[in-house]
Amino acid sequence: MNNNQVELATKKLPAQFKDLEHLVEEWALPNERVRYAKLVSISKAHLQVFFDEMLPPAKSIMDYLAPYDVKELKGELLTLYQLLVTFVETAHPIELNWSTTNIEFSEEPTRLNFHGPSADH
């Protein structure tokens, strides 16, 4: 994954996953920094809706993407990959039964800085 690929993503998904297209705008996010910002800004109920919709097809999305090299992904495939990574990187508050999407007693979430790979992909 590299910075140039961010511009190559589309709002569309491969035909097999068309029914997830309504999630793209909000959830196909390009890097850890923005996925984190999204996570700590939403309610758990809101996250739960995304999680519940993504969990059943997650394995088939992985299998669909498996033949590809991440660095070569573009267009619909890149969008699908970003949607899947957002799911992976936001699953823990649901799976660990947190009361919110943020850890308890956390430092102000916006104080954490993201660099290098955390800012790029």
């Binding site: 994954m1 850890e32 984190y36 969990l55 997650a58 394995k59 992985m62 993407l65 498996a66 590809y68 991440v70 990959y81 899947l84 990574v85 799911f87 992976v88 990187e89 936001t90 699953a91 823990h92 799976e95 660990l96 947190w98 850890i103 308890e104 007693f105 956390s106 430092e107 104080r111 954490l112 800085n113 993201f114 660099h115 290098g116 790979p117 955390s118 800012a119």
Partner: protein
Amino acid sequence: MNTVPLAPSITVFKGDRSKLENKVNLLERIQPAYFKGEVEKIFKKSWLPITSTAELPEPGSFIVVEVPPLKASILVVRGSDGEVRAFYNICRHRANKLEMSERGVKKSFACEFHGWNFSTRGKLVGVTDETQFVGLDKNEYGLIAVHCEVWETFVFINFDDKPSQSLKDWLGVMYNGYQGFFDTREQIAHWSIKVKANWHVTINAFTEGYHSLFLHKATLPDYQGGNDNPMRHRPFLEIMEHHGRYSAKANPLHKMTPVEKLCYEAGRLMYPAFPHIDTSAPDFPTSVNPGRVENWAFDITELFPCFVLINGVNWHQCMWFWPIDENHTEIRVIDYAYRAKTIGDHLSHSYFRVRNREVFREDISTMEAIHASLKTGVMGQVVLSQQEMLLQKHYSVAKEMMEHTE
């Protein structure tokens, strides 16, 4: 001083405990004058890891690293001859900051102020309008070097005029203990945060496992512990001349969540799931699972004064706790993992870094509160369990350097 006796536990303790104390005064350490002393006697006298050779893949590759306790900007560069060197990032003409970008590859370094030019080996190779400098000998105006040595993939510097120990002696038994263990890794996460807390308080949050059952109950409910080790005692803990380390034991009953399972089955097992590997083979690096404990999960090593290395089978984490002053610390974290080849590997990386990030954020959550409490002056002394022996070690080494360093 009498050595504190050991209480029964599963922990195998190794090393000289005779200088350790289980009560430590933190209040004196958060005073400005004390901190000034620490900069002179600790930070200017220790070997400090500052970056990785992965940042310096080819001749001319460089990285600029700010070292807050010294208020120094350090230019680390792989020279045209392949050697890694460190210099103060200062132009020798009028002391302007020489290299402004954080990293890159260059044939030479030109100062933006008047165009003085330095080679990748630190030599002054070009002075603009040179005839106007009467009697200038360019050999006398190379970049100011800082002692620099490479160990495994780590680049260390030492600000002392004449370091009292070589890096090899400074690292002791660890020097030959990893043998390429870090070579095949790639960087997968990098975070930083400035906290209003003394640097001792910040590093102390990462060098004991006693807290994991409590502070991390929401993020790591079952990765350690289990029926035979409910309080998550360290199976192995070692005190060295400057440094300290312990291993953590995996809980064989750890239950992977559905997404954890999905990712780690497509890639490799990473924290908080731990693959079983045979670390008893004679050629397995001696400093990885140094106590050869069963159901090994990971090791935590404090490289004194302000660096923590955490290593598992397929990943390692580098953490710096750089003091800015006696009340503020900049924490930098870089996560590395086995090199990804497939989508499944990338998803394993993603799952790991986020789970790890949340644990890190929990660790941060206590620091400012502790520092604020100490600042009231009501309670200056803390008491430490033998499971917190790396903190005892940290303070005994710090005390010795403060008392005996010239």
